[in-house]
Subunit: 326 residues, 2 copies
């Protein structure tokens, strides 16, 4: 099933069920007011939501209405936790080469992961506002999972069972600030502004064989101003998978229901899949020509991130945002 949140209803939005085709939706106040509330008692909420989803897809759901993408917040408009790994090492190697930084120690023995901003996410069609083009705004297309309660010490072999939903994500990065921020060791503060997620979050069963319980093997499409930039397969070249990331995060703490966990900018070794982000493209330009010519994102640009199934149908809906001045 596919779930989303209307902006209406407050900072946590209003939970709705969306049909497979992403055209119709229905409110479910009798099940849960918000997606966060549903996740906190998922064992009861999931079957109730599934019944609504079945009726909606059969055309028999009472109160169904046409889905307006502009009316959507992020499926979780805010979250108590967002953790982001960096498991596509090809991306990390290029991003670090571009800023003249070495690879971090132990990066092949344990996942690199940071605690990210989660107090407010942008809606999938909302403008992304940032103050100054000199900060070097870049996009990063990701696949994120949403968890129910994960006890401390859960091993990877049991962690996959806690993955309840998947979403796409645009994890914006201010490249001019990573240079000074990451060497301090304390992670990203100013360098990671507000992110955006896909219009809907989907249950793993909605993804069929493309989801094997550990990774999602479909191309993740990104474009800037209509120009396709990347189509890397999210299931390829993952050095650590989602259950391994969850186990890493849960080693010394439990993870509360509603935790969002990303795996980093999706990038493949195969150059035919394009570039995950502008930092990668600019790194290639520097290697080839001695200087990067593609600019960072500018006010007025549009960034689109989407994933299609084998028949060309959008699985999560598109994140499609205009970049605007604050």
């Amino acid at each position: 099933m596919k779930l989303a949140s209307l902006k209406a209803g407050g900072r946590d939005g209003t939970l709705i069920v969306v049909d497979t085709a992403l055209t119709r939706a229905v409110r479910v106040p009798h099940i849960a007011a918000t997606l966060q509330q549903a996740l906190e008692r998922w064992a009861e909420a999931r079957p109730a939501l599934q019944a609504v989803s079945d009726a909606l897809n059969a055309g028999t759901a009472a109160g169904a209405f046409d889905l307006d993408m502009q009316a959507l917040a992020s499926p979780l408009p805010r979250a108590f936790q967002f953790l982001d790994g960096s498991v596509y090492l090809h991306h990390m190697e290029k991003a670090r080469r571009a800023r003249g930084a070495a690879m971090p120690p132990n990066y092949k023995t344990e996942p690199l992961m940071y605690q990210g901003l989660s107090d407010r996410f942008d809606g999938p069609r909302d403008p992304m506002r940032f103050p100054d083009e000199a900060l070097g705004l870049d996009y990063e297309p990701e696949v994120a999972v949403v968890l129910d309660d994960v006890p401390m010490g859960t091993p990877a072999a049991q962690a996959g069972a806690h993955i309840q939903l998947l979403m796409l994500m645009n994890d914006y990065t201010l490249r001019a600030l990573t240079r000074s921020e990451l060497p301090k060791g304390f992670g990203f503060m100013q360098a990671k502004p507000t992110s955006a997620f896909s219009p809907v979050a989907v249950t793993p069963d909605e993804l069929g064989a493309a989801w094997d319980g550990t990774r999602l093997s479909l191309p993740l499409l990104s474009s800037v101003n209509g120009r396709v930039m990347g189509r890397a397969n999210a299931g390829h070249d993952m050095f650590f998978d989602y259950p391994q990331l969850i186990a890493h995060a849960a080693r010394t703490r439990g993870l509360s229901a509603g935790t969002i966990l990303g795996a980093g900018a999706v990038a493949n070794k195969d150059p035919a899949t394009g570039h995950a982000c502008l930092a990668e493209l600019r790194a290639d330009e520097e290697l080839a020509n001695g200087q990067a010519t593609t600019p960072w994102l500018r006010h007025g640009d549009r960034v689109r991130i989407e994933m299609l199934d084998g028949e060309g149908r959008s699985l999560f809906g598109a994140i499609d945002q205009a970049i605007e001045q604050v």
Copy 2:
């Protein structure tokens, strides 16, 4: 006024108003169900809560009951954002010396700050559970502020007006993990387990002249198994103050109501104020004797953190936790 949250009522607890003496309390469901909800509409909630507080302190509040510290969650049992600075440079210098690490670049021109775990905090009298003594558990006494909505780009001169509450905090750290985690640059993941806050959060006016709008100038007392370890004045030796920390955090993002912002382990240069944490004490032992003899926290230990006013009255109540095996 002083505010707290009962554990009863779910993951966000139940908001109560507590009297100045920390002995009596009253529920306020007609104002807000939770502290998070109150902070999200603080302009209306604050005067209504203040009226209840005035009645409670006058002995005329209907429904008042005896305060049971064991029944309390953290004032915010969970939060959408926890940011922690490190502005007592004396602590940072000792902690880094102890693990053989250099001071981070630019540490005197902009505050060091990380995005911390906030999806669940321990109550002030709950056990602190962690799996393995070999992880090197240490405590860190801090003073944290709670904010209302802070717009992106708010300068330090205007940031202080967004400080609505103050709390004490025990920011636990697993020292054996900081050694391998911080050099990766992505901040703390496994090295910062679940923290705890004081029984009550207080409005700035409750602190009198000790709070000047930028820092809280009173000794912060910490003890382990009844032995006083530190009494550093939280207003001394701050290299950056709270409004400067807020402005740093808000440079490229807004901060949502309910954001908790700490300033790091309180440490003074004056050796008569003791040590902020075991890492500092052990660093001094190594310098003096060639090896550290005080062990890290062990299962069965108790850690207490408290702040008294000029008359010896506890301002926030004590964080007093037993360290236990998971």
